[in-house]
Symmetry: C2
Subunit: 328 residues, 2 copies
Amino acid sequence: MEPGVARIAVDLLGGDDAPAVVVDGALRAMRADPDLHLLLVGPTEVAGGLVDVLTPAQRARVSIRPVRHAVTMAEQPIQSSRAATTVRAAVAAVAEGSADAVVSAGSTGGTVTAAALGLGRWPDVRRPALVATLPAIAGPVVLLDVGGSLEPRATTLARHAVLGAAYAAVAHAVTGPRVGLLSVGVEAGKGDRLRRAADPLLAALTLPCDARYVGLVEGYDVALGGRADVVVTDGFTGNVLLKAIEGAYAMAGGPPASGGAPRAAALLGVAGTVVVCHGAAQGEDVASGIALAAHLWRRAATTRVATLLTAGPPADCPDRSTHTEVIP
Amino acid sequence: MEPGVARIAVDLLGGDDAPAVVVDGALRAMRADPDLHLLLVGPTEVAGGLVDVLTPAQRARVSIRPVRHAVTMAEQPIQSSRAATTVRAAVAAVAEGSADAVVSAGSTGGTVTAAALGLGRWPDVRRPALVATLPAIAGPVVLLDVGGSLEPRATTLARHAVLGAAYAAVAHAVTGPRVGLLSVGVEAGKGDRLRRAADPLLAALTLPCDARYVGLVEGYDVALGGRADVVVTDGFTGNVLLKAIEGAYAMAGGPPASGGAPRAAALLGVAGTVVVCHGAAQGEDVASGIALAAHLWRRAATTRVATLLTAGPPADCPDRSTHTEVIP
């Protein structure tokens, strides 16, 4: 655990099984991290139920922001972002400085829209990316996008390659990240129009933190690693892929000892630290999402990735020897 | 094993590790199935090496068609189909009646093009589909497309839904198959433009064999099953998904006891029985591809699926009680 207080705004009503699993996750996170402060965003009776089971010392680390309305999965992102939702209130808490990061297991589209509107986008990032980290054999594999931008252009994939390289270096201390573009084969020219357009763009990029583009990679490389540390794809493919890997681990009798498919992802491209848990998240998933948010905040990951995007100095790239690695 | 001679044309030079793994796979298949006849298509010295290790009785079940040129993975499908390739010669053997089915682990694009040109397409099938069957908890899950058509239109996905339903009934004896469309959530409206366009088309279909459309499904449902027996997606997503599941099983220490991700897929939409093994196929994968081809031929699957496409009589849908289930 890295030192330093982290104040995380938690969307109590986000997720298929909210608020029960969010409350469970918040409790787990509080117990695991003594420097964690939570801002509980949701109905007072839900927040109160959580506070009731805390010790007096833990209660000093909890605040409540009363909000009633949640984003349902069926709502369109743009509609829900106009409503007075829990996720919007949680984002507003970060925007006004009352919290350091947001965690929500509600509708991804609703969270992305709320974050983009409430925190603002980084320059030159047309579409924010959801970034998930999978524990592979030789180290973490950073997969993006996993649902932020379902139909990106080739230029967005190129931008995401830069984002992913910077994130791998800053959040996971990967030195000289290898960046691959997901396709149906590794030979040049394999793939659909989007991949064939993106491949030369990625090859021509100047990547931060001594990252290099290694060309096309395949589905195996996401779970197994070995060929790339960062795998770039569109949000539709990344989302179904991540869930397919999760299904495969369940089918195989459980995830590998190093950890399974992550149920929390970081949102990159907005001016703040935002973590999205998926709708089917359980308590331990929400807890790992809160831990990820705290980790990213303590490492100043969002700010440093944003700096690297604008050709920041090499000093922003961490030296592996001075950083601990955390895969939530 | 179903009775009846099946004559399978095997592309000796297709695949990353050809011809060694193809020879190994052919030997395994010969030993497992006494009614199997093989037409070995490739260099005579390779075929001869295989024949040398057979018993005299086995040799009576082998023929050789000498061809030198293979399709390399880097070649464009249209180029390779113009060359005198092993896969084209294997397809020609089926077209002329010298073999009942083709198996190749070479370039998928090359095999699809060779099959479409050499055997002809079914009416109303714009793009052939590659169909893979995964063993899930409650029975097989038929996934299509896994690489035949990387950028289908919504109408192609609708056609593939019909193909998949018929295939599940005919090849795997699934009664009343449930057909789902792969997307990033199950709520109506989730997904990219292609999925939003295809969803109402699939809902309006008349499906064969008492199949019904169950709406959107997610990545989990491919490996785990439970929600759908047939999962429809574009060939890009299906291909990376299948390989991601394979990678996850390798990462988890091996596939589940019921079987892992298949390395052989049936090509539907051409007038003949064609099985594609993926480029990284090993001997046992090639053997399972040959077994799948023999199974499909013995069940007259291709002909019966084609009949069902043109609103064939319900009699073409098998009754589960009279058919054995085979998942290669």
